[in-house]
Amino acid sequence: MFKLILYKELREITGTAKFAATFGICSILIILAFFTGIKNYQSGIEEYKASQAAELRKHEKRTKWEEINNFQVFLKPNPLASLVMGVSNDTGRSANIDGRSKPATYDSIYSQQPVFAVFRYLDLEFVFQIILSLFAILFAFDAINGEKERGTLRLSFANSVPKASYILGKLAGSFLALALPLLVPILIGVLLLPLMGLTLTGKEWLQLVLFIISGMLYLGVFLTLSVFISGLTKRSSSSFLFLLVIWVCSVLIIPKASVLIAGNMVEVPPTAEISTKVVQLTRQNNRDMDNKLKDFFKNLEQERTQGQNISPEIMEQKQKDLDELLEKTTEDNNKSVESLRNRLFEERRNKQVKQERLAFGLSRISPTAVFTLAATTICGTSLDLRNHFQEKASEYSQSFSEFIRSKTGQNMGGRGIKIRITPMKEETKPPQGIDLAEIPEFTYQPPELSAILYSAVPDLGILVLFNLVFFCGAFIAFLRYDLR
């Protein structure tokens, strides 16, 4: 019986104008999302290479490693980020390595090219999140009450049709009818990947499959919800109105409102505020250093005026003392600045984590938010992208510092100020060029699949839970439904 109802439902749906429209739009949008995603990725890679080359060009005329006091690294585009963009266009794509402070990221795509921020991109996540969820409602808003309005429900149950099989057939039929317009263009899009010269790794293929599964689960939520609401209402127009209000709330309101609520409840200081505090301490340190230097020169002057005979050996010793004073003070100052910076940023980060947890916790009332979080986590374009990039840049900063130290024997950025009170020794060796190819390469490694799965499983679980709850709701509502 279930099979029969499923066939009937499928035949009914696939023969409608609704199906043709859905299939047409889905095909165009999904293929377009794949095509533009691939193109964007390719231009992103070109831009990445150009930026890297430009950075190297900046240093190619240098003759000493000491002259390199900062180096820029870039976030390599990720092929999946072109299909599910998440925050990848909002997060900074470069980081400045100065060997001292924790690198901050800057120059996001949207800040560089705000023209793309005006309407944003059309990616697979957007197609699923907005368009397909709307189609899911359109497919199933009248699943039960529509049949009642047309009188076909009473007719169907004039025969011995089990209610359970009927509702299961309805749900499965609607789901299959929606999955078909989706899977065909997705397969075409997937074929476009190798055809347009984009090769994914095994891990990336798995991520893509996981993303599609999460998309299907998300559609399942709206489909079961629609059947549920259709089983609760008598008229299809009422169920459609309810569903549209729920859709607006779920897709447009709850996710945004939860972030705004969290933003109001947990305040995170802007980085500019931290920077100014750090600058204040730096200036204080500079003033302290000035005083120390003044004392040093005052003593030296006193010794001179007292008529002490200052031999070249003593002057050499004085030069050493001065070098030591400068080096030690610079080191102490750098340490104090770094410790303040790290403390302030850590405090900020803790507040940020609290804010994010609260925002995402609240937003998970909405299946759309859950899907967005799951999809972006799976494709590596969630908020973790920035944290991960910063971590990797930080690790690289250490290795880059080590490299410069091994080349120069001193910390990156030099020892700070140098003051000569003895005649400068002539450089015996002419300046040698430096081989930039020796610089350790920075390549951003995205998180492992296990880590991705670990982060995405809770959201996938919530999507399954939504499906189960609405499915049970639909089932119970239909069992109690007045068929007349």
Binding site: A17, L32, N40, T91, S108, Y110, L138
Partner: protein, 476 residues
Amino acid sequence: MFKTLLEKELKSILLSPKFAAVFAVCSILIILSIYVGIDEYRTAVDHYDAVNSQLDAQKREETNWGALRENIVRRPDPMEIFVAGINNDIGRQCPIHENIVIKLYGSRYSDQLLFSVFRSMDLMFIVQIVLSLFAILFTYDAVCGEREAGTLKLNFSNSVPRTSYILAKIAGSWLGLVIPLLIPILLGIALVLIYRIPVASEGWWQLFLLIGISILYFSFFVCLGVFLSSVTRTPSASFLYLLVIWICFVLVIPRAGVMAAGQFINVQPAAEIISKLTEKRRQTSEKLNEWYTVNSKKRDAEIEALDPEVREKKGTEIHDQFYKDFMEEDTKYTLEVDNYYTSLIEDWRNRKGELEKLGFMLSRLSPASAYQLAAMNIAGTGLSLKSDYEDQLHDYKAIYSRFCAQKNEESRKKRNTAASNKPEPIDISELPVFEFNKPGLTVIIQSSALDAGILIFFIFISIAGAFISFNRYDVR
């Protein structure tokens, strides 16, 4: 007759559950968005004041004009409450220094990435997405629904002019949607007044224009809904077509237009420009150093060769002349770098301009894009915000550099003549103040006239379509 029909239409809309749902959702959304906008604006102003006062405190401690580091913070604008535009995507600060390229950095979204996950919800977003959807919901069955219910046949059994009927349908639905929009907007404006947001008289005009363009935008969807409902025979078919059109207009064409333009026009990355500029700076700095080394040796030799009796007096003159020459040389190289920068940025800007032009031209096939672009222009949060800011900052940089050079020269002279060498704090009130000049109302009207025209054109086409199709409609 028109009045009777309009009354009937209004009554049937106002008493429907649809109206209650739309009114409730719109009220909550609009008031919430304005309230949140006000809150965000106030937070932004607090941060702006805090950062500026910290920067001022730092500047006050400075004793040397040459060591002064100016940092301009972008002032929040009250219109961001209604239309965020690209305000959160572009930087909020810009350091002013001879060797630093003018570039706004530290956007709100890059600083507080969480807010970029689901983006902001402002009045423009609500009108563009939610109200347009509701406009369809109000009108998709305006004609075909009456036909299906049999009331159309009944109506036309009396002598009802078709023109009056369709006009009343459009006007009734339009009024039914204007109420849910205007009441919460007025309440939102009351909130702006209660929270004493400093909206200038020009700002009120901008808001008035924004409401006007929003009404134009959803008028189009009302007319389109009536048009499609008089083309189709069943409400379900009409709704399906309208939904497809809505998806294309609101969600697909705007994005696809700009993305297509991005495929046609390639803009070189900013990193490349900065690298070229850095290289140029390095070259000029090397030349200046070389000049200094050669000429300082000459100067020292010249002073050394002087008679000891006149050395002090003459030596100062030689020093002054040397400094003057050095400053001239420095200005020459700065100008060279500036010209190079202008040529680089001009080329880059031209490419970007082409991309924007093509992208927006393609996206204007959709009234939703036309509305968004007009709304952003009116609120002053469109794409020009970034370029206008950076241009004005660039001009300010030149004034600031000249001022600092002049002050340095004065300080140097003072140091040479003063008995004590004790440094004194600088008077920062003398610093040239950066004030961003927002485009005037005339410029705003001019820049949004095209989009308003497009919306009027779309409305006209829809009304004409509705009239023609309804006159041919089989009312049976």
